[in-house]
């Protein structure tokens, strides 16, 4: 599935503003959205997922206008993983992941729904949590469960809003590895808003760098993560080294 964002603009108050965003994501690609706080990474993710309604512009999914699809059909294509999940009431992990079947489900849960949930838990390596209650789990485990719920939707595109921002380094790597494995095995695409430039560098095929509500530059990690771009966008002097697997590694030095 190919996703295309064309001339998308959104404004609400002063903090969440986007102007004329245009970008493309190919099938089987991981794309990171990077940029400073307030650049509109999360807002863009929410606009793509129709959580927020852009004032202008269009999102195309395989050439079809997303806004014209029914919300049920659309939700079968896009899975959304929020930055953090807070469940007010007690649900078991299984029930939470089962909610991801909402777009496919009538009143009754079919055996196919249960199988999809079981497989998803298995895929994420969290099947032993199935009957535990969500509020008993750690931040990293919760993040995986939120991902499992989005996966149970069987989406073509997975949208992740800063998936690693509250996690320790082990869980950061685990979560990113799951995203990578998913994209490879299920042939879907992933778009992630990322703060950590080095994780983004290591795991994405392409990066979209946002600055002042607009797209500053697009490209593979090597072409995006240059000292000049980082200085221009973040206002930080940085060294870029050759990191793991030849990916650029950003070493921030000082704010300018």
């Amino acid at each position: 599935m190919k996703l295309k964002v064309k001339d998308l603009s959104f404004s609400y108050g002063s903090a969440n503003t986007l102007e004329d965003i245009t970008m493309e994501v190919d099938k089987g690609e991981i794309v990171s959205l990077v940029g400073p706080n307030g650049a509109g990474k999360s807002t863009l993710i929410k606009c793509i997922d129709r959580i927020l309604k852009p004032q202008k512009g269009t999102v195309f999914v395989d050439g079809k206008e997303a806004a014209r699809l029914s919300s049920k059909d659309f939700s079968k294509m896009m899975g959304y993983v929020p930055q953090s999940t807070l469940e007010v009431f007690p649900y078991t992990v299984f029930d939470i992941v089962l909610m991801g079947r909402r777009p496919h489900i009538g009143w009754r849960v079919t055996s196919n729904d249960v199988k999809v949930v079981a497989r998803t838990l298995r895929f994420m390596g969290i099947e032993e949590f199935a009957s535990r209650y969500f509020d008993e789990l750690s931040g990293g485990e919760k993040q995986k469960i939120a991902m499992a719920r989005a996966l149970a939707q069987e989406p073509k595109v997975l949208l992740l809003d800063e998936p690693t921002s509250n996690l320790d380094i082990r869980h950061q790597l685990e979560v990113m590895n799951i995203v990578k494995k998913l994209v490879q095995e299920k042939k879907i695409s992933a778009i992630m808003a990322m703060h950590d430039l080095n994780l983004a560098s290591r795991f994405s095929d392409n990066m979209v760098m946002l600055k002042d509500k607009g797209v500053f530059t697009v490209g593979d990690p090597k072409s995006v993560l240059t000292p000049a771009n980082i200085e221009n966008v973040y206002g930080v002097r940085a060294e870029v080294r050759n990191g793991h697997m030849g990916r650029p590694y950003v070493m921030p030095i000082e704010p300018i």
Partner: protein
């Protein structure tokens, strides 16, 4: 992965669902059993057999039954028992839905100002003798119903001005509750002895006004609204994870919210207009159910209704029999029976059920 493990998951899920279904059935049978028992309880001492006979005699040409038993059981006790059941169901269902749709464990028809609104409407009708539809026999009921719905509309309207945030809605409800309480206090202050007494009685709530003509209308209405609300179970489940996740699951959050709030407001208003304020049940029944069977609204909504019915029926039976022929207001008994039970569940469970 092997098919064995997939099969295992299905079995585990089926077992968990089976348990919840069983729990629902047990509650249902429990309500029926208490209802049957309650027909034989009361100031007039009639045995179980006599009471049954009286009920059966209405439908079947069976053996002789005294007209006294028939009048007591059919005209006094049965409508009251049915009223207790449907009132309990309404409050339990409305509480579960309101808490779910607003993602807040402290919400109930009481916190959202609906009860105060109804009470204010009733007090105005009592003191001024007129209501929105002029004077008449049902002036208090209609005024209470109307004011209750008006409160919901105002509270929702205020929250809409601020982009429908849940916090605004709840706070607006609490604020409206205070405003109506002030109006009630004012009305109490200026009213004469007779009216003051009537207001105080209304505020305490009770089922002593139950009559067949009301029960007959309320039963289908309550069942209809409960079933309608249950259709939103999956949406409510998804909304518990937050608006953004719900909307990414294809749910029109604002639409579901206004539909569920309106339906549960109508559900609550239609019973409390007759019974007066009965607190506690709307708040606590959903929590009791969550502690026992979890938060899946497909089971939570009916179970919360049945728990509400059970608690109110037991309380009302106790309040009309404990020091008969006098009655204790049901609100007092509900609190005496319900609060210790709820506190017991609260501290005996290891797991916190909300964060």
């Amino acid at each position: 992965m092997s098919d064995d493990e997939v099969f295992d998951a299905e079995e585990v899920y089926a077992r968990a669902s089976g348990k919840k279904t069983l729990f629902t059935l047990v509650l249902f049978v429990g309500v029926l059993a208490v209802a049957v028992f309650a027909t034989s309880m009361g100031a007039a001492s009639l045995g179980m057999g006599e009471s049954f006979g009286a009920v059966l005699a209405e439908f079947l040409p069976v053996e002789e039954v005294s007209t006294f038993a028939q009048v007591v059981v059919l005209q006094l006790r049965l409508p009251r028992i049915l009223m207790a059941i449907i009132t309990g169901i309404s409050l339990g269902v409305a509480g579960a839905v309101m808490q779910g749709v607003l993602r807040n464990p402290l919400v109930s028809p009481y916190t959202l100002g609906l009860s105060s609104g109804a009470a204010c409407g009733a007090a105005i009708a009592i003191v001024l003798g007129v209501g929105v539809l002029g004077a008449g026999r049902y002036v208090i009921v209609i005024n209470a119903f109307f004011f209750s719905l008006l409160t919901m509309a105002i509270v929702y309207g205020i929250s809409r001005m601020r982009g429908t945030s849940v916090e605004t809605l709840i706070l607006a409800g609490v604020a409206m509750g205070y405003l109506f309480s002030a109006v009630i206090s004012l009305l109490k202050y200026v009213s004469g002895n007779e009216e003051l007494r009537e207001i105080v009685f209304w505020l305490m709530g009770g089922l002593y006004t139950a009559r067949w003509e009301n029960v007959i209308i309320l039963i289908p209405a309550v069942l209809f609204f409960t079933l309608l609300l249950m259709r939103y179970s999956w949406d409510l489940n998804a909304m518990s994870a937050g608006e953004e996740v719900a909307s990414s699951l294809g749910i029109n959050v604002n639409r579901v919210r206004i539909i569920c709030l309106s339906l549960s407001a109508v559900l609550t208003a239609s019973v409390i207009a007759f019974t007066g304020i009965i607190g506690f049940i709307g708040l606590v029944s959903p929590h009791v159910c969550r502690l026992l069977i979890g938060s899946d609204h497909r089971y939570l909504i009916p179970c919360s209704g049945l728990i509400g019915a059970l608690v109110l029926l037991v309380s009302d039976t106790a309040c009309r029999t404990m020091i008969s022929p006098t009655e204790i207001p049901v609100g007092i008994v509900t609190a005496f029976i319900g609060v210790p039970f709820f506190l017991y569940l609260l501290v005996s469970r290891k797991r916190r059920w909300w964060q």
